[in-house]
């Protein structure tokens, strides 16, 4: 299963070293810029820059090629509508905009680990801490991305099972098992998170001074090999 969430590879490139917030800000700025600019030359320039940025992250070739091929298909369809209306200026502009944004998004995905993204989401969620702990929101984000390929796989398996029983055209034969297995996966994932003690009371993640105190104690314990102290910390 190929997904953009599996794009990240640890590399030694400038984008890999850049903080997640810088990359997300760059992505937002580029998206706003290509929408605002109604000029194919500028759009082509931004597209070239974004493609170079993507290449600079040395992304996995196959996954990137699949993602870009899909984008090019959509861009070609969109451009053909504008060309049919005789507006080649707009066709070039739209195509370049789409490729630029997707290339930059892939560059961010290829250079940002899930841990860094989780920290970023937690940071952004701090103003909402009265409603929901930032770490919980970050964890929800990670779980959502983790669930995507699993749900896709469950769907494919359900479809194959339906086909094997001769129910190719029966939507219920695909939807019911997909739904029940997805719920089962969610329950299993919930139990696993519970079992690992993630997000439980006292689970201080990159937060306050208390966290540092906890961390120092834990580090000391790890060095001295005292398992009970680490557990208590």
């Amino acid at each position: 299963m190929i997904t953009p969430t599996g794009l990240y590879r640890a590399r030694d490139t400038p984008l890999h070293h850049a903080p997640a917030w810088v990359k997300v800000l760059l992505l937002l700025a580029a998206t706003v810029a290509v929408i605002m600019l109604d000029d194919p030359v500028s759009s082509l320039g931004i597209m070239a820059a974004c493609l170079l940025l993507l290449l600079s992250t040395q992304p996995p070739a196959r996954t990137t090629a699949v993602a870009m091929a899909g984008t090019l298909v959509v861009a070609a369809l969109s451009a053909s509508i504008h060309l049919w209306r005789g507006d080649w200026w707009r066709a070039v502009d739209v195509t370049a905009d789409l490729v630029a944004v997707v290339a930059l998004a892939l560059a961010v995905a290829a250079s940002t680990s899930m841990t860094a993204m989780l920290d970023f989401v937690s940071l952004m969620a701090r103003p909402l801490r009265a409603i929901l702990p930032p770490e919980t929101l970050g964890l929800m984000f990670a779980m959502m991305l983790r669930a995507l390929p699993e749900v896709a796989e469950i769907y494919l398996e359900s479809r194959q099972a339906a086909r094997a029983r001769g129910f190719d055209r029966n939507i219920r034969a695909i939807v019911y098992p997909t739904t029940t297995r997805t719920v089962g996966f969610a329950l299993d994932l919930g139990q696993a998170i519970h079992a690992r003690g993630i997000g439980e009371e006292g689970d201080q993640v990159d937060s306050d001074a208390g966290g540092s105190r906890v961390s120092r104690r834990a580090r000391r314990s790890r060095r001295s090999g005292n398992a009970h102290d680490v557990a208590a910390a």
Partner: protein, 235 residues
């Protein structure tokens, strides 16, 4: 030490008894739990870290009541599931182990090093940055184990950890589990593996049907399954 004090589980909505009140004291380093599907094995071991709460009686781990001190108990008790796919949350191995370590190691570089060390110990050092979905079933189970052991639990509960693995991985993961310096409670259908424990508990129809010597327990279980014996619950 794990203590079940008349601990039982009844489904709140249907009133069906899943595990009858059970009293056990588990002190041995290697304990295997065997029994037919649906007998209550998983319920029993899930009560150890509070994944399934006791509806009657109580369970204590090193003197801590699981119902009241759940988070503290879960720091002592690691849990390995049958299907590692549901246990792995992050997209790559190193990130998943790092997630386990977030509670104990705040410094990111140190956390990364600790996660890589944990993966190295499992022989997954070269798979640290590989997408979880690209790993084999055995590698995923090792990764799940690395995530559990990274926080140095003193007890490991493994619920059929080798059921989904092929013969080679089954032998590898089984040997690895037995070599760990923790108290291991393993639910298994692999009777050879069960017989290597120091103590074996046979669960049948929601209660302990046999508790004692592994070789005798396996013989009892075989006879029970093939109708060659009637149940005589152990004291």
């Amino acid at each position: 030490m794990i203590e079940f004090k008349d601990a039982g589980v009844t489904a709140p909505d249907t009133g069906v008894t899943i595990l009858k009140p059970t009293s056990l004291t588990l002190t041995e380093r290697r304990i295997s739990v065997i029994g037919a599907n649906g007998g209550g094995k998983s319920t029993l071991v899930r009560m150890i870290n509070g994944l399934i709460p006791a509806t009657t009686g109580s369970v204590e781990v090193d003197g801590l009541d699981v119902a009241r001190k759940g988070p503290q108990v879960r720091r002592k008790v690691g849990f390995l599931f049958t299907d590692p796919s549901a246990q792995l949350i992050m997209p790559t191995g190193v990130e998943d182990v790092m997630l386990s370590l977030r509670r104990t190691i705040k410094d990111k570089d140190e956390r990364t090093r600790a996660a890589l060390d944990a993966l190295d110990e499992m022989g997954l050092g070269d798979r640290a940055d590989v997408a979880v979905g690209s790993l084999s079933g055995g590698q995923r189970q090792l990764l799940a184990l690395a995530g559990v052991l990274a926080v140095t639990p003193s007890i490991l509960v493994a619920d059929e950890p080798t059921t989904l693995l092929d013969l080679r991985w089954r032998a590898h993961v089984g040997a690895l589990l037995r070599s760990l310096p923790v108290q291991l409670i393993e639910v298994t259908h692999d009777l050879d593996s069960a017989a290597r424990a120091e103590r074996t508990i046979v669960i049948d129809d929601g209660s302990v049907a046999f508790d004692g010597d592994p070789t005798e327990a396996v013989r009892f279980y075989r006879d029970l399954m093939f109708g060659r014996t009637t149940r005589t619950p152990s004291p």
